[in-house]
């Protein structure tokens, strides 16, 4: 016998009714790798961390992040980086500056040529990492040292993320029109529902009915 549902589409799936054997555990990476997403709320604003997505590659990660993090609120830019490519410092306490607590050692490995790195700062625990700037370095550690020198003065900074610029997929200037329809979809906003007007009208009608 197959499962009967109130929804004819579910009934048509012909799913088995009654006891079913347990599903095999999902294999590792069934849900893919993770990527971290940063959005830009408006022109000129720093990119801010919004959260992770699971995706099979960078391009799909971009599409998922666009849906997940920029479909409901204003957005003009989106950056994506593979979680694996982001190096993270320990977390300091609120009010502290993590750069003061780090002993940045000589890197064991550096590249021949200096290249740009993006630096993200977390100002307070529980808030989101924000893009602080770009430095040029030959290794992650040197990038961190450079970040301390160039961007680390204004504390508090409780945590730092460092990622090579080449590992960040950035939305292009030309792609901005992908967000232009967001303000058109008013039905997704609380403000589109003028429910009080209807309630007031209803109450008045009720009052008139009883008065008659």
């Amino acid at each position: 016998m197959s499962l009967k549902s109130l929804d004819p589409r579910v009934t048509r799936l012909n799913l088995p009714d009654g006891e079913v054997p347990a599903m095999e555990p999902k294999p590792e990476l069934d849900q893919f790798e993770t990527y971290e997403a940063f959005h830009q709320k408006k022109e000129g604003a720093a990119h801010t961390y919004v959260g992770p997505v699971h995706a099979p590659n960078e391009d799909v990660a971009f599409l998922f992040a666009k849906e997940q993090y920029s479909r409901r609120f204003p957005c003009v830019g989106l950056w994506i980086a593979r979680t694996e490519n982001i190096q993270v410092t320990p977390y300091a306490g609120d009010g502290e500056n993590v750069y003061d607590m780090l002993r940045i050692e000589e890197p064991a490995k550096r590249s021949e040529q200096a290249e740009p790195y993006e630096i993200f700062h977390l100002k307070k625990r529980g808030k989101a990492h924000t893009h602080a700037g770009r430095v040029v370095a030959t290794s992650y550690l040197e990038a961190l040292q450079e970040a301390k020198n160039q961007l680390g003065e204004k504390g508090p900074i409780v945590n730092v993320w460092v990622v090579k610029s080449k590992d960040v997929l950035q939305s292009a200037e030309d792609d901005k029109d992908m967000w232009t329809t967001v303000p058109e979809k008013k039905y997704r906003e609380a403000i589109a529902y003028k429910v009080m007007d209807k309630i007031t009208k209803f109450k008045e009608e009720q009052k008139n009915l009883t008065a008659q």
């Binding site: 799913l15 893919f32 790798e33 997505v53 209807k198």
Partner: protein
């Protein structure tokens, strides 16, 4: 949208004596100062286990909660409602993704969470084991179940775990639309034709029982509960949430001339507390343990989606992929 009803049973990790006292003191001091805990911080095993369980259940509730409303997208009355219902369901599935990621930062993989959901090992909000018979049922879910969820989520957003708070802030912002959309839909029916009023009242009657169990049974005050409250894992008792919900929404139901199917429901003016008929906790237990009208269907639908999509995921998987848990 999310059902509370977290039953915080004691686990074998409840014994804090095994934890390093210096680290535990530092951890507790951080929370007492109002600072958030971030994924790489040291944390007691009990904190980690309870948060995984709670956030995972929340995620499952979002993904399963999308089903009773999702079923009405194709039959929504009118284009605008279809668009809005679709946007809401999409939000709920998006919330599941945010929450799965927050739980992952604590060390449980999304694969494991989905396996546990489908095999019945982890729970989701019990209300979604009930069917949405009519469009009016879907409206009651959109309004009152989401309202209950918001009470819960607003409290939890102030909790101590950074990734969960961040996810909840985004979720609460998106839910503002759900609540207004649901309210508007119910008001439309309640102020409409006699047939529409009858439909919405019938749906409210069907859902009142599940709604009252939504926040879970009264908490047993134990040292365990006290610990979780001190650690800001549990932010309000189930009864406090239920009272807040009744305070905010019963007047809004009554002003539409609808009735609540509980003759004992009233606010005690002296205590300021709502009095009501105790919900049927035996039914609650029976349904949460699998014997509800829709448990089998919900899991079967979820499982089918997972199984039918498996080959696509396998085909897309990069052979060099390596799992790293999300950062925050």
């Amino acid at each position: 949208m999310y059902g509370g009803g977290n039953v915080f049973e004691a686990t074998k990790f409840d014994n804090l004596q095994t934890e390093d006292p210096a680290k535990l003191a530092e951890f507790e001091a951080r929370i007492a100062r109002g600072e958030k805990i971030e994924p790489t911080d040291w944390m007691p095993e009990l904190y980690r286990k309870q948060l995984i369980r709670m956030i995972e259940q929340h995620a499952h509730s979002e993904i399963i909660g999308a089903l009773p409303e999702g079923t009405w997208i194709t039959r929504a009355p009118g284009f605008r409602r279809k668009m809005a219902q679709m946007a809401k369901v999409q939000d709920e599935v998006g919330h599941a993704q945010l929450l799965y990621s927050a739980a992952e930062t604590l060390g449980k993989s999304r694969e494991q969470m989905l396996t546990d959901l489908i095999n019945g090992k982890s729970k989701y909000s019990n209300v979604f084991n009930y069917p949405a018979f009519t469009w009016a049922d879907s409206n009651i879910i959109s309004w009152l179940i989401d309202a209950g969820a918001i009470v819960n989520q607003m409290a939890n957003a102030k909790g101590s775990y950074g990734p969960y708070s961040r996810a909840l802030e985004r979720i609460c912002a998106e839910e503002a639309f759900h609540l207004k959309y649901g309210h508007d839909a119910v008001v439309h029916m309640a102020t409409g034709t006699p047939k529409q009023r009858e439909m919405i009242q019938a749906a409210l009657n069907r859902w009142w029982g599940p709604i009252m169990t939504f926040f879970g049974p009264s908490d047993k005050m134990s040292t365990h509960t006290e610990t979780l409250m001190r650690w800001k894992v549990k932010m309000a008792s189930n009864d406090e949430c239920r009272q807040q919900f009744l305070d905010m929404y019963v007047p809004k139901i009554w002003e539409l001339g609808l009735t609540v199917p509980d003759p004992n429901l009233k606010k005690n003016q002296e205590t300021g507390q709502w009095e009501y008929t105790e919900p049927d906790w035996d039914e609650f237990k029976r349904v949460i343990n699998g014997d509800g009208p829709c448990n089998a269907e919900r899991l079967a639908v979820r499982r089918t989606a997972e199984e039918r999509g498996a080959w696509v995921r396998r085909a897309l998987l990069n052979p060099k992929a390596k799992y790293v848990k999300p950062l925050a």
